[in-house]
C-alpha cells in the first residue's frame, strides 16, 4: 500500500460508518436478534459484574459443604472442595467470553489482512491461500488442542491456538468478497479517477466486505466458546484453579454419579451463551447477508 494508508481518510471512515449503520439499523429490528441479544446481553452483564454478582469467592474452599446438592445457600451446589458452583460458573463464563472476544478480534484483524491481500494482490493469492488450505485440512478442534498443548496451558495460548485455527476460514470469506468487489464498476471508476490502492481498498472494498465478515465473526465467537471449553476440559486450556467452564466439567466428571450438578451446571451455561450467540448470528445472517441465507 502507499503512504496514504497512514493518513486518516475521513471519507473512508464515513463509508464504513454508513455501511455499519445501515446494516445494524435493520438488524436491531430483527426479532431473533432481539431475542438472542437479550439472552446474550444478560450473560455478558453477569460476566462483567462477576465480582459483584457471584455470591462467593470462586476459589474459596468450604470443607463443611463438600459436594453439597443445590440449596438456598449454594444455588448450583458445591464441588469436591466445597467451592460454590454458581460463583465458579459465573467466573468461568467471564473467562469463556474473554477468550471468545480475544479470538474474534484477532481472527477479525488477521482475516481482513490476509483476505484483503490475497483477494487484491494477485500474486499473493496462490501461495498464501495454499497455506490457509493446509491449515483448514486439519480437523479444527484437533489442531487447536495440539497447538494449545505445545504452547502450554494459559488464557492467551488458548486464544492464540483458536485464532490460528479459525483465521483461514475467515480470511477465505473476506477474500471471496474482495474478489467479487474488485471487479465492480464503481471500483473501476475509482481507479480511473486515480484513487490509490489504499483508498480503493479502505473506502470502496472493505466496507462492502463487512456484512459477511460480521456474520462469520459471530460464528467464530460461538465456536470459540465451545472450543475453549473443550481445551479446558482436555486440560490444555487455562490451568486450574482458575475456574473455566471446561475445567469445572472435567472436575465434575469424576463425581457424575454422586454430584451430577458439578458437571451439569457449567454445560448449561455454555449452551445458553452459545445459543444466544447463534440466535444473533442467524438474525445477522438474514439481515446483513441475504446470500448466505441458505447455509
Amino acid at each position: 500500500m502507499t503512504a496514504e494508508a497512514g493518513v486518516p481518510d475521513i471519507s473512508a471512515t464515513r463509508a464504513w460508518v454508513a455501511r455499519l449503520k445501515l446494516g445494524l439499523g435493520t438488524a436491531a429490528r430483527h426479532r431473533s436478534i432481539q431475542v438472542g441479544g437479550v439472552l446474550f446481553g444478560f450473560i455478558v452483564l453477569l460476566a462483567i459484574f462477576a465480582d459483584l454478582i457471584a455470591p462467593f469467592d470462586p476459589n474459596k474452599n468450604n470443607f463443611r459443604a463438600l459436594l453439597s446438592a443445590p440449596d438456598a445457600v449454594n444455588i448450583f451446589g458445591t464441588d469436591a472442595f466445597g467451592r460454590d458452583i454458581l460463583s465458579r460458573v459465573i467466573h468461568g463464563t467471564r473467562l469463556s467470553l474473554l477468550v471468545g472476544l480475544l479470538v474474534v478480534v484477532a481472527t477479525g484483524i488477521l482475516g481482513v489482512i490476509v483476505g484483503t491481500f490475497t483477494g487484491y494482490v494477485r500474486w499473493l493469492d496462490g501461495p498464501v491461500m495454499r497455506v490457509m488450505d493446509g491449515l483448514m485440512a486439519f480437523p479444527g478442534i484437533l489442531l487447536a488442542i495440539a497447538l494449545a498443548a505445545v504452547l502450554g496451558p494459559s488464557v492467551s495460548n488458548a486464544a492464540l491456538a483458536l485464532t490460528i485455527t479459525f483465521t483461514p476460514r475467515t480470511a477465505r470469506i473476506v477474500r471471496g468478497s474482495v474478489l467479487v468487489l474488485r471487479e465492480m464498476p464503481y471500483v473501476e471508476a475509482a481507479k480511473a479517477c486515480g484513487a490509490s490502492h489504499a483508498r480503493i481498498v479502505l473506502k470502496h472494498i472493505l466496507p462492502n466486505a463487512l456484512p459477511p465478515l460480521i456474520v462469520q465473526l459471530t460464528f467464530v465467537f460461538s465456536v470459540s466458546i465451545l472450543a475453549e471449553a473443550v481445551l479446558s476440559f482436555m486440560g490444555v486450556g487455562p490451568p486450574p484453579p482458575t475456574p473455566s467452564l471446561g475445567n469445572i466439567i472435567a472436575e465434575g466428571r469424576s463425581y457424575i454419579q454422586e454430584a451430577p450438578w458439578v458437571a451439569l451446571m457449567p454445560g448449561i451455561a455454555i449452551a445458553m451463551t452459545v445459543l444466544g450467540l447463534n440466535i444473533i448470528g442467524d438474525g445477522l445472517r438474514d439481515t446483513l447477508d441475504p446470500r448466505l441465507r441458505n447455509l
Partner: protein, 315 residues
Amino acid sequence: MTRYILSRVLSAVPVLFVVSLVTFLLMWLVPGDVASQIAGPDATAAELEAIRQRLQLDQPIHIQAFRWYGNLLQGDLGQSYLLHRSVVDAVFERLPVTLSLAFMSLVLAVIFGVLLGVLAATNHNNWIDQVTMAGALLGLSLPDFWFGLVLIFFFAVGMGWFPTGGYTPFTESPLGWLRSMTLPACTLAFTQMGVIARMVRSSMLEQMGQDYIRTAKAKGLPRGLVLFKHALRNALIPVITLVGIMTGLLLGGTVVIEVVYSLPGVGRLIIGAIQNRDYPIVQGGLLMTAGIFVFVNIAVDILYTIVDPRVRNDR
C-alpha cells in the same frame, strides 16, 4: 471426468505439503528445550544429551526437516518415545475405533437430520417447523463432550442400559461393541444433526419455490411424489458438500468423545501423547487424521460431480 479426478487429486499435493510442514513445525512451538520437556525436570545432562542425539535435535533444522520428509515419503512417521513402537503402527491399530465412531455418527446424523429437515420444510411456518428448528439450533449450541456426560448420567448411570465407558471389540462381541458405541455415536450425531436439518430445510424450501415443482403440481402429481421425487432429490445435493465438511468436524469431535467414553481411538492416543509429551505420536496422529480428511473431501467433490453434472461442466 478422469481429468477432473486427476486434477482434484493433484490439488491435494500442496495441501498435504502444508499439512506436513505444520505438523513438523509444531515441535518448534514447544517453549524451551524439547529434550528437557521430554525427560522431565530430574534429567541429568547426559540423559538430555542422549535424547537430543536420538531425536537428532542437535542437528540444524534443515537437516531435521530433510530427514523428516525423507522418512515421511517412505511412510515412516518415527518412533513413539513411550510406546516403544512405530507411530504408524500405533495409529493404525486405533484407527478402526475412531473411523467406525465417526462413520456411525455420520450415518445417524444424516438420517435424522434429513428426516427432521424434510419434516420442517413440509410444515413450513407452523409449530412443527418452529419446534424442529429450535431443537436444531439448541443441538448445535451444546458442547458435545458435556452432552456425552449427560447421556452417561441418564442412560448409563441412571437406566443402566449402556456401559458408562470402555470399548468391546466387534470381533469379541458384536452386541457388546454396539452397546459400547451407541452413546458415543448418538452424542456426536446429535450436535451434527441440527446442522444437517437446517441445511435440508432451507434447501428443500428453495427447491419447492422452483418452476419445475409448480409444473409438477400443475400437472396433478400427488404431493408426496412432488416432494420426495422432485424436491428432495435436488435438495439433497448441497448436503453432500456438508458431509465432507462434517467429516472434519466428526474426526475432531471423536477426539473429545473418545476421552469422555474411554474409547481406545486415535483421539485418546493423541491426548495421552500430549500429556506425556510423546510428540511423534501427536505429529503422526494429526498428520494421518488431516490426510484422511483431505481424501474424504476429494471423494466428496468427485461424488458431487457424479450426482450433479452441472458442476462438472462449470469447472
